[in-house]
Amino acid sequence: MDHSIYLDEARDPLIIAEGWMKDGKDVAVATVVETWGSAPRPVGSHLVIDAEGNFHGSVSGGCVEGAVVTEAIDVIASGKARMLEFGVADETAWQVGLSCGGRIKVYVERLG
């Protein structure tokens, strides 16, 4: 458990997103906006993605990040935000569902 009271600048997704932006990269920010049942990351958690598919942070325990990165690359291209939903109730659950049995809603938006 991390007991520091200061930001971990090297791992903080929003700090990394700002750095990427300064480097002139196109960036998307994904945010967990809702969870039901058992979810590994709390509401408010971030995953940040660049146009090459590099990412930092997490929105789940690694279960759906791959799918979010793919969607994020589309969002960067189109500039249109998307709301994604993952979980056992979802028909794609067998591919990218949450093995913990929970459901999450992830908002993906382009930076700028």
């Binding site: 007991h3 520091s4 009271i5 200061y6 930001l7 929003l14 700090i15 997103a17 700002e18 932006m21 920010v29 945010t31 906006v33 809702e34 709390p42 509401v43 408010g44 935000a81 709301m83 908002y107 938006e109 382009r110 930076l111 700028g112």
Partner: protein, 234 residues
Amino acid sequence: MDPYVLKTLNAERRARRAAMLVTDLGDGRDRIVREGDHVAGDLGTAIARAFRTGNSGSVEAEGRTFFLNAHLPRPRLVVIGAVHISQALAPMARIAGYPVEIVDPRTAFATADRFPDVALHAEWPEDVLQRSPLDSYTALAAVTHDPKIDDFALKAALDARCFYVGALGSRKTHAKRVERLLALGASADEIARIHAPIGLDIGAASPAEIAVAILAQTIHAFRSRGLDNKGVAA
């Protein structure tokens, strides 16, 4: 997300100030609300609640859906005095989610042997607090009984609007302390924020029990932030 909003949010987070990222999930527009900013209506009520609890979530207001992402600095506890109470308080507070720093210039008290795994400063509060200033997400408990060590830190905690300020000592001891703090330039209203005698009244007797009382009072102060002076209901 607006790049300027992200830069502002990160600047607030780096400075250990609370900030709320408010995103309209309908059109994607976002803005930063700082703690204490006035926001009207149901949205304002929800924002005030999110600042207090630290819980992020969606809220329906004005016929729209907003996502409130609460970015609160991590609260911490600074203890002035490497005493028996502090030995119990440090591990308990850490488990409860409040990282602890202990300050005591008396090197016989402030030893790594007595305080394993704790951020310990065998220095005067004047020096430590200059390096690592107090803020409104810091609690301060002064437990040395020694005015030479406690008083400066208590005045600094009032100036920094620490969310909790507690001082060990009887009512009689505290009455003398009030006189000294007035002489240092603190106002009567500010001094009234000091919890003294320290700790919730649970009849604590042993040092470890007093530590529980201090920690409980710290948590209560943190979770009721803004309720005493702003009258925010939610």
